[in-house]
Amino acid sequence: MPFSSLSHIQDRLNHGETTAVEVATLYLDRITEHNETLNAFVHIDHEHVLAQAKASDTYRAKHAPRALEGLPIAVKDIFCTQHGPTRCCSKILEGFEAPYDAHVITKLKEAGAVLVGKTNMDEFAMGSSNETSAFGACHNPWDTSRIPGGSSGGSASAVAAALAPAALGTDTGGSIRQPASLTGITGLKPTYGRVSRRGIIAFASSLDQAGPMTRTVKDAAMITSVISGHDAGDATSVADAPELDWLAACSQKDMKGMRIGVPKEYFVEGMDAEVRASVENALKQCEDLGAELIDISLPNTNLAVAAYYVIAPSEASANLSRYDSVRFGHRCENPEDLLDMYTRSRDEGFGAEVKRRILTGAFALSSGYYDAYYLKAQQVRTLISQDFKDAFEKVDVIATPTSPITAFKLGEKTDDPLTMYLSDIYTIAVNLAGLPGLSQPCGFAEGLPVGLQWIAPAWREDVLLGAAAAYEAATDWHTKVPTGFGGES
């Protein structure tokens, strides 16, 4: 049962074969057993989890079950939760307890989900390896000497090792898809504006989006259908987003008539040969399922990382100015004056990567440089969006590798920030264009999971889910589990 899908657990609950308390207890026991090895959770409150599960069982006894009734879902430490700490894995939020729930947390609660703790992440979601967390690195269950990816590394590791059947992450430049790829699970970044950002600690507001990390495509759809929808409390949440039948999209069994675009810019030198082979093999299988593969070009792809590392740090430097040690967050001892209080509190509270990004952004936005950096990057962003629009004139969906490499060793890239940035080369353009993207397992390279990324036009998560569900139905990669974590079911 621990490695069951969310929908399978739901079936068992609905048939009275188990209870929410039993399910919660199972995962809590697994967290107790394995979290020391993985460091996937940075906060867990057993009593609170069991109380929610008990309340769900009581609800079920009297009412029809809600969409996620009694299902345990872990959430990244970036989501504000009224119960327990919310720290974004930063020292600057030591002791912070959010006065309100994030909109998506409210939605999960209203759907009957049982929230299981807070998962590890790169500090303020800035990183691709989970190594910048103030609570220490998180480990990949497939090889604990390796990173789980980032920034939603804790959520990925927790789901991959079945410490929780599903989790929420956030994705600014690949932070759901890349760790999903590196840990062999499914991760969906919805269209920008599909899911409310209210109560999600902001990193880069024009890029951030929350989404599910799960064992199956259907599980991702189940969660997204609950957390999506307009929220008047987030001005960038889109009011007239097309509604989808999320679950129906997952019943697709073949790819007949589907035109899959394969962008040549995503199959280049520098990518791992076995990753390439796995993805090419997956594309071949899509062809066998009836899809037509069409070579396409996204000519501005090579500019995506550069544009991102102007836009994301610029927005971060503005967003993180709120950590002034006045209203919340760490304050230094005995400040001499106001300026000393600001500067010393922020030096003590922020880690090295966060400072690097804030400073990059502050520079790009500073007087005399704005046009050359920020404005230019936003123009390049338009070009990148246009590449996708042109491509979607010819194809229904685009398939690429999620990451050029598999999980690397802890510490391997920490001394070289720029190399670390380049590991998100295949995921970043999707955020810049605000498109939905999904990563699903499609093989292994030297025993480490490889991910296949699907990219669809804005608001067409149904296309992503359909393609991914058909691929999943024809393969068994999603059923593979890491050894050492009691994976027999």
Partner: protein, 92 residues
């Protein structure tokens, strides 16, 4: 590119030790050196992206939607007194 790291750090209100500045300087130069490739792109007449879907900022009615939550919001503040945030003296 040579960057005056301490100046940028002051703009961002972060105090850097000399060691931190010595490490961050070359790293920022390297990052900005990489993003400088954008300069070579012809973007004449290209509109900058503001919202990925070009959505207009929505308007809502100007009505009160929540109650006074001062106590809850100030509970997480480093220092308050009589419902006010306390900071070091600014005016002599």
């Amino acid at each position: 590119m040579d960057i005056d790291v301490q100046k940028v750090a002051m703009l961002a209100r972060i105090r850097l030790t000399d060691d931190e500045a010595a490490e961050l300087g070359p790293q920022l130069s390297e990052i900005l050196g990489y993003v400088d490739q954008l300069a070579a792109v012809n973007t004449d007449g290209i509109k900058p992206t503001a919202h990925p879907h070009d959505a207009a900022m929505p308007l809502r009615a100007n009505v009160v939607t929540n109650d006074n939550q001062r106590d809850a919001l100030q509970a997480v503040a480093p220092k308050t007194e009589s419902g006010l945030y306390v900071v070091p003296k600014v005016i002599e």
